[in-house]
């Protein structure tokens, strides 16, 4: 709960100006008082108070868990489009909601133009309800504005489950919201289900993928998780589906955003699609002797209609951009075909490719760990095999 130190408060009312919840803070005499029934614990006042008079005492325990219902998915935008992970979250969210006999809702923060463009898609991918907050302040992501808005919505509508994509943005926002409201949060889940007690069973890898853990969050609501992209399956879109649109207002003053984006650089690696979305990926590892040798893999990729990725050491050498790195610290991928050339197969790399349909590995070392995961393990020199393979493919197509 919010505690205001009467001895410190100077009655400047800056907090009242930034408070998104009207009537939660009122001036009584010379000091500000809080109406705890209206306060959403968003902490906007705490950040703005010039004399540190406001303090939120957070407790990691929700008083009445039965007051919470519905499965929410945070609908992350990428410009005017939804991030691909949103459809995956809705696919899994649909299953969870049906299991609980509750609604599935998407929550989208953005400018009205961007929000309007994604409503049909959210409904088609399975959302029963869509909560929208349209504000210019959401044009660029800021932890502060997004955290306050989402915290307010959670307090108003009390969802039982809230899922985020484990993107950079999701992994920045979800823990901020969790700590703001004193909630449990499980990172980077690869499995979600409802257990016998009706709780969200969250499965995630730990220790670099050597161990799997099942986690529950019995005493706080919503139960929150970030979910690894490219693991859950999106449902086939049903364009005729409709959703109830709930347009919300959250008052957010610019003053509460303490960060400012000065410049954005978009990594342009010459491909129209990101490696996460590619159906065929050819990956090069330490077995390649020079940066120029990647042209061999490019040639194979062209012949198969795929794109080239790499393992971590290649990025560290500066031979490929970070956006092409596959593995735990890079991108998780789930292509139809994944071919590795000279990749030894550190556990961190294997974690990122487990969901590929077919894995073919080419490596000189017959004991290379990558072979444990390969559907077809080819022991041999990539410099000899890849040119032959290109020849065969070209002769047949």
């Amino acid at each position: 709960m919010l505690i205001i130190d009467e001895n410190k408060c100077t009655g400047c009312q800056k907090c009242i100006k930034v408070c998104p919840s009207e009537g939660a803070l009122v001036i009584k005499g010379k000091v500000v008082e809080v109406d705890l029934n209206r306060c959403t614990l968003c902490s906007a006042c705490v950040s703005i108070c010039p004399v540190d008079a406001m303090q939120i005492k957070r407790k990691a325990k929700t008083a009445d868990t039965s007051a919470y219902a519905d499965v929410w998915v945070f609908a992350e935008l990428d410009g005017e489009k939804l991030k691909p992970v949103v459809a995956e979250l809705l696919g899994k969210g649909r299953e969870l909601a049906e299991n609980l006999k509750q609604n599935l809702a998407a929550v989208v923060l953005g400018r009205s133009l961007e929000i309007d463009k994604c409503l049909d898609k959210l409904a088609a991918q399975g959302a029963d309800k869509i909560y929208t907050v349209a504000d210019e302040i959401f044009a660029d992501y800021s932890t502060d504005a997004y955290t306050y808005a989402l915290s307010s919505l959670i307090n108003r509508h009390k969802p039982e489950i809230l899922l985020f994509g484990a993107t950079h943005l999701g992994r920045d926002l979800a823990p901020a919201v969790a700590a703001n409201l004193g909630l449990g949060l499980t990172a980077d889940c690869t499995g979600l289900s409802i257990n016998e007690e009706g709780l969200l069973l969250q499965t995630r890898p730990a220790f670099g993928g050597n161990v799997m853990a099942d986690i529950i969050c019995p005493n706080t609501r919503p139960q929150m998780a970030t979910v690894r992209p490219n693991v859950m399956e999106a449902l086939a879109p049903e364009p005729e589906r409709t959703a109830e649109i709930i347009s919300e207002k959250v008052k957010i003053e610019e003053d509460i955003v303490r960060t400012e984006i000065l410049e954005s650089f978009f990594s342009d690696d010459g491909h129209e699609i990101g490696i996460e979305e590619a159906e065929i990926i050819i990956t090069g590892g330490r077995g390649l002797a020079s940066k120029d040798d990647f042209s061999l893999l490019e040639e194979l990729a062209d012949a198969l209609g795929g794109i080239v990725g790499c393992s971590r050491p290649i990025v560290e050498k500066g031979w490929m951009p970070k956006s092409r790195q596959v593995g735990q610290s890079g991108k998780t991928v789930s292509p139809k075909l994944y071919i590795t050339c000279g990749v030894s197969g550190a556990i961190q790399h294997k974690v990122g490719i487990r969901n590929s349909d077919i894995i073919i590995a080419i490596n000189k070392d017959e004991n290379a760990p990558i072979f444990e995961l390969a559907d077809l393990a080819v022991v041999g020199d990539l410099y000899e095999i890849v040119p032959e393979l290109i020849k065969v493919i070209k002769s047949k197509t």
Binding site: T143, A187, D188, F207, T259, E316, D375, V379
Partner: protein, 265 residues
């Protein structure tokens, strides 16, 4: 300026294995190390301090043997270290960890910048940094690759975002969660550094040294509960071939033709 660097001692994850019979993680004999993300953050803090001056406190929570990791931090360049160790802290999830660190930082007093590693290599949650920032009511900058400018009033960082990079400015105090640069090399302390480190202050605090709500610490205070750990599912055995390059290429093509579901045509 006053800097705090939060560090974690982690097992070497490549050597962690499961005891399949008991379903527990085998910890005996697994070497521990300073989380590489945190080691990078500490190196960055030392680099900045050398440029603009200040004091670095290394802060860690864990069992008593974490003292070893903190001694390493002192040798690399931290000015003092604080170890939070108490049986009451055991079993903390990210919320309880952040809560305990926040309470310790309140005792430490004023600061300008908190450094964390973006994530620890054992849990890979990347949650403690943002949760700590929120509990302290300060702005967070995650996925930071470089601090470009730091002065009394603000910080400017280069950070990784999903689409590329951003240059972002924040008011202070703030928290940065750091990603090691690809060419990162840690400082190797020399004999003098190690000698000096032995004379630096290393405090050990338990729950009675903090003013937090005892119910929020450790396993009891953790909202998330791990109910089961187990080895990852094994994938089926694949086919292994070792033939001439021509024959290998032919077999790969045949495999794709048979299994590829029309991927090649």
């Amino acid at each position: 300026m006053k800097f705090i660097v939060c560090v974690k001692q982690v097992p070497d994850t490549s050597e962690v294995e499961m005891n399949e019979e008991t379903g527990t993680i085998i910890r005996e004999g697994v070497p521990t190390t300073l989380n590489p993300f945190d080691e990078f953050a500490l190196n960055e803090a030392v680099r900045i301090r050398e440029q603009i001056g200040g004091e670095i406190t290394a802060l860690s929570m864990g069992p008593p043997q974490v003292e070893e990791a903190l001694r390493k931090c002192l040798a690399i360049g931290a000015d003092r270290a604080v170890l939070l160790t108490d049986s009451a802290f055991a079993g903390s999830d990210t919320w309880s960890t952040s809560y305990t660190l926040a309470e310790a930082i309140k005792v430490l007093g004023e600061f300008d910048l908190i450094y964390c590693g973006q994530q620890a290599v054992d849990g890979d949650t990347a949650q403690v940094g943002p949760e700590l920032a929120r509990l302290l009511g300060i702005p967070q900058l995650t996925y930071v690759e470089k601090i470009e400018e730091l002065n009394e009033d603000y910080i400017i960082c280069k950070k990784e975002v999903d689409e590329g990079y951003q240059r972002i400015k924040s008011s202070l105090p703030a928290l940065v969660a750091c990603m090691p640069a690809p060419d990162f090399q840690t400082r190797i302390p020399n004999v003098m550094d190690v000698m000096k480190a032995k004379k630096k202050s290393l405090l050990t605090w338990g729950k009675d040294d903090l003013a937090g709500d005892p119910e929020e610490y450790g396993l009891e205070g953790s909202p998330t509960q791990v109910i089961k750990v187990y080895p990852p599912p094994q994938t089926g055995e694949g086919i292994k071939i070792q033939e001439s390059p021509e024959e290998s290429a032919k077999k790969i093509y045949e495999f794709l033709d048979a299994r590829g579901g029309g991927l090649i045509c």
